[in-house]
């Protein structure tokens, strides 16, 4: 079991190097804004830098980062909604569009526009490769709920992207 020492710049930088882009991408799919994604991703790493965490493996690190980032993104979305500054989750274009490969922008748009609870499961299943049971454990939802949400998400994606989704 490795521990990330709080006062070790070298270890933290190594941790940051391994995960910063992943956390940024995750935040961007939720917040659809480069500025907010950077802000939220920074807060994830601030937690690491100011807390005391032990990880058994890189997969464990990734799981922790995923849960923390998703929760912070949801907090930020709620905060924006409460302040009535316009939902970040609306259907309009991102505030600042991140560079995207043209061929896949439709897929990315479709995923980014999914309801948050469906985005969770799609991200974890298709991008992280977790099983629905593992996703249930990570998100604290019953596996049957996760499976239903997977089905709903696939249907929404199929409606947007065409008929070649199961």
């Amino acid at each position: 079991m490795s521990k990330i020492p709080l006062n070790s710049d070298v270890d933290f930088e190594s941790f940051y190097e391994r995960h910063w882009k992943y956390v940024y991408r995750l935040c961007f799919t939720y917040l659809k804004s480069e500025t907010d994604a950077e802000d939220c991703a920074e807060d994830v790493f601030v937690k690491i830098l100011t807390g005391s965490y032990e990880f058994e493996s890189e997969a464990h690190e990734r799981k922790w980062l995923t849960v923390t980032a998703v929760n912070l993104c949801k907090d930020m979305l709620k905060s924006h909604s409460r302040k009535n500054v316009g939902s970040l989750d609306d259907e309009t274009s991102p505030e600042i569009a991140a560079p995207e490969p043209e061929d896949y922008s439709d897929v990315l748009d479709a995923v980014m526009n999914l309801p948050t609870k469906l985005k969770d499961v799609i991200w974890l299943y298709y991008y992280q490769g977790y099983s629905t049971d593992e996703i249930a454990g990570i998100l604290g939802r019953p596996p049957s709920t996760v499976r239903n949400q997977m089905r709903d998400a696939r249907e929404l994606l199929r409606n947007v992207l065409g008929a070649d989704l199961k």
Binding site: D9, E13, Y16, E17, R18, H19, W20, K21, Y22, Y24, R25, F28, T29, E34, A37, E38, D39, A41, E42, D43, F45, V46, L49, T50, E58, R62, I96, A98, P99, E100, P101, D103, Y104, S105, V107, L108, V111, I122, W123, Y125, Y126, Y127, Q128, G129, S131, T132, D133, E134, A136, G137, P142, P143, S144, R147, R154, L157, L161, D164, L165, K166
Partner: protein
């Protein structure tokens, strides 16, 4: 989701590139936010010291100087350091362990494993996990089931929970039905072996033991 679209989704997400300088900018902000947070926590924990009040004329400028020095010492090397984003292979670039395949024939050709969903199963999805596990997700009746096969000896069911009971099934394949308690739900799995292959059939959406055994009898 079809294999092509699944790859597209992964490529789409991998295509999200932070803007230039984001890595260094974020790292600097992380250090600044962490330092602020630590200061706030210290301020809450420590009561004000009287001598600071009388000496604030020189303490505040000194603190400002120290803060600038600390900022320079921690952040500037990061800003000045030349980072090559490709030097470190990010974990995010690791492949998705789930690879969707067309049908059970792919298991045979790629893994040498012969297994399939029972006849009449609907919404069947085939995956190969970590290049070692054949994974079939299917609907039968009102429930979804998962069937996995591998030469791995470790538990590859993907189910977590406290073992609440086991029952040996009379099938000649050393088949064992296990009830897993994962509050508030109960999961069921049947494990068995055939030669060097290990199988696990599971349900997590409330199928009865009888229903799971019936599926087992059809796929074993």
């Amino acid at each position: 989701m079809s294999e092509m679209k699944e790859n597209n989704l992964q490529k789409a997400i991998d295509g999200i590139e932070p803007s230039e300088g984001a890595k260094e900018r974020m790292l600097a902000n992380i250090r600044r936010k962490a330092a602020q947070q630590s200061k706030q926590e210290e301020a809450v924990q420590k009561p004000p010291v009287l001598w600071l009040v009388s000496a604030k004329k020189w303490v505040l400028p000194l603190a400002a100087c120290l803060a600038i020095a600390a900022f320079g010492a921690t952040v500037m090397p990061q800003l000045l350091k030349s980072h090559n984003e490709h030097e470190v292979v990010s974990a995010v670039e690791m492949g998705n362990p789930f690879v969707e395949v067309k049908d059970a024939q792919d298991f045979e050709s790629r893994l040498g494993i012969k297994t399939d969903a029972p006849d009449g199963a609907e919404d069947v999805v085939y995956h190969i996990i970590d290049g070692q596990i054949a994974d079939i997700d299917f609907l039968s009746g009102e429930h979804r089931y998962n069937l996995r096969a591998s030469r791995q000896k470790d538990d590859f069911s993907g189910l977590y929970g406290e073992e609440a009971g086991t029952k040996q099934l009379d099938s000649g394949k050393n088949a064992l039905l296990t009830v897993l308690q994962c509050e508030p739900e109960v999961f069921l799995k049947i494990t068995w072996t055939e030669g060097d292959l290990h199988f696990v059939l599971s349900n997590t959406d409330g199928a009865s033991e009888k229903e799971l055994v019936e599926i087992f009898e059809r796929v074993k």
